[in-house]
């Protein structure tokens, strides 16, 4: 425990980013205890109200409480961020390690990844969403497919350079099976870089979901997500900016906290990389 706190003291960005993120996670988990109002409840009499004591963040065009929607919206963003980060890390690692060790797979897989990477994230997701019904799962699948190639590239690159290392050669000479080499000697050495990359992917996924929902190609409009709340507020934003401002602030803080965590972890894991990027 003491070690952990010393680590946080030495890397304040990790501490600040981590604390902010933890607060947001708590907000998402305990949403029903924080707001008593139903984020989906319509109340046509209280349409488009500005923030007041009764409605902390005002109401939207259908009279729904924006504060309740913003608090519940954290759930959507964090679920998307964490799920996409986890899925793309797992899938990307499996493909990347295979590709780094099996030559004929590599040739094919890397061409496919190059192709996928030349389709900009949002457009790739739009194509997938356009052909399926709007749902949280489909948004997660679409963003995951767009993010997997990044992980594949990273893991494959690391695997290719690691397998030339003397200690790996020694393991092979000592008779270790290829599977053992991959899991015992290669994979553990990719974890550090993978963790940093996964953190960034979490932030990128949250951004992608918000952007998709904002343009109307994300989660169904009934689900309170920050992108959806802002999409609702688009029509009236010049006179009632609160519908856009509050979710925007929360969205930005969330991505900021994750980016800070990523930057801090990167610097902590590899001080040489601190200077780069």
């Amino acid at each position: 425990m003491g070690k952990f706190f010393r680590f946080l003291l030495r890397h304040p960005t990790v501490a600040v980013g981590g604390t902010l993120l933890l607060a947001l996670i708590l907000m998402a988990v305990f949403a029903p205890w924080i707001v008593s109002k139903d984020p989906m409840a319509l109340s046509p009499i209280h349409r488009a109200r500005v923030p007041s004591d009764q409605f902390l963040f005002g109401t939207d065009l259908l009279g729904r409480d924006v504060f309740a929607r913003v608090v519940y919206g954290a759930r959507v963003s964090l679920i998307v961020g964490f799920t996409v980060a986890f899925l793309s890390a797992v899938i990307g690692t499996i493909i990347g390690l295979t590709s780094g060790f099996v030559r004929w797979v590599d040739a094919i897989v890397m061409r496919i990844m190059d192709g996928l990477m030349s389709i900009p994230t949002i457009l790739l997701a739009i194509a997938l969403i356009a052909l399926t019904r709007a749902s949280l799962e489909n948004v997660i699948i679409a963003i995951t497919i767009a993010e997997v190639p990044r992980v594949v590239r990273l893991v494959r690159g690391l695997a290719l350079s690691l397998r030339e290392q003397p200690y790996v050669e020694a393991a092979i000479a000592a008779g270790a099976s290829p599977v053992r080499v991959v899991f015992k000697h290669i994979f553990p050495n990719t974890i550090a870089a993978l963790t940093v990359q996964t953190t960034y992917i979490c932030g990128l996924a949250i951004l992608a979901e918000a952007s998709l929902s904002f343009i109307g190609a994300g989660v169904p409009p009934s689900i309170p997500s920050w992108g959806n709340i802002m999409a609702e507020g688009r029509a009236l934003w010049q006179i009632k900016p609160h519908m856009i401002a509050f979710p925007a602030v929360f969205l930005s803080i969330t991505i900021l906290s994750i980016n800070m965590l990523g930057d801090g972890l990167r610097d902590a894991i590899d001080p040489r990389m601190a200077k780069r990027i």
């Binding site: 192709g115 030349s118 994230t121 457009l123 194509a127 356009a130 109307g216």
Partner: protein, 313 residues
Amino acid sequence: MFAYTIRRLLLTLPVMLVVAIFVYGLLDLAPGDPAVFLAGDDATLEDIARIRMTLGLDQPFYQRFAMWLGRVLQGDLGVSLFTGVSVTEMIVQRMAPTFTLMFMTLCVSVLVAIPLGALAAWRHNRAYDRGVMILAVLSFSIPTFVVGYILAWGLGIELRWLPVQGYVPYSQGIWASIRTLILPTLALGSVYIALITRITRATLLETMSQDYVRTARAKGVGNKSILFKHALKNSAIPIVTVIGSGVALLISGAVVTETVFSIPGLGRLTVDAILRKDYPIIQGVILLFSFMYVLVNLLIDLLYRVFDPRIKY
């Protein structure tokens, strides 16, 4: 050089083929009958049959893919399911604002970011450097569309310097047209500027620790001269590489920025197409943008030699 250019050009073919297979194959991969889905909930049997005919869904995959690819190579991207107008025509009509916006953003970002990053490297670890880095982290974290609203509210509504939303085509005056794109350019540029600033600073710092920089310093060359004459030139390659790969960000960002500023470009075309499930349009826009992205990065690959004559192909 010529042989390399040809080889590099050939290498883009498999990439574009993967993109084509992906955007075309998605129709078949999607669950259920694509014709039924695209026709929507209140479609008649005739609508479904018409869509099936338009997309050629009654033939086997490889056959229709080959025919579709053949038409695409001739510039025929099919017809819109909604209006029946040629997709190529619709894209050409909407191209001007999007490409102007992207080109303006590219120019402004490069002109702002490289000096910003170079100065940060020069003032390494001082207040200016720290300030630039904090701004960069913030730009990475505040989504493009949020930056768009902040700018539109501040410079458009409060200060009334620039039009808040909307777009004026070239035909009504070049300046009037550009004026409507200034705020979108700044919004779209926020992330791109941060990206280029960071890579410029990082690469310069790395270059500055090289032996020849120490030699230059030892023989009495001034700091400014080292930075701009020796280091910047030798840092060009990572910087242009990031400028190239960042074009993907510009494309994704443009789609969203056009929605914020109500610009009738390719982004709006795509967004309207999603709502109407007009897949041929989405297909066409993706093909066009991916082709552009691949082409830009090819160009940058070929430019490497200009920046570093030591590179031999």
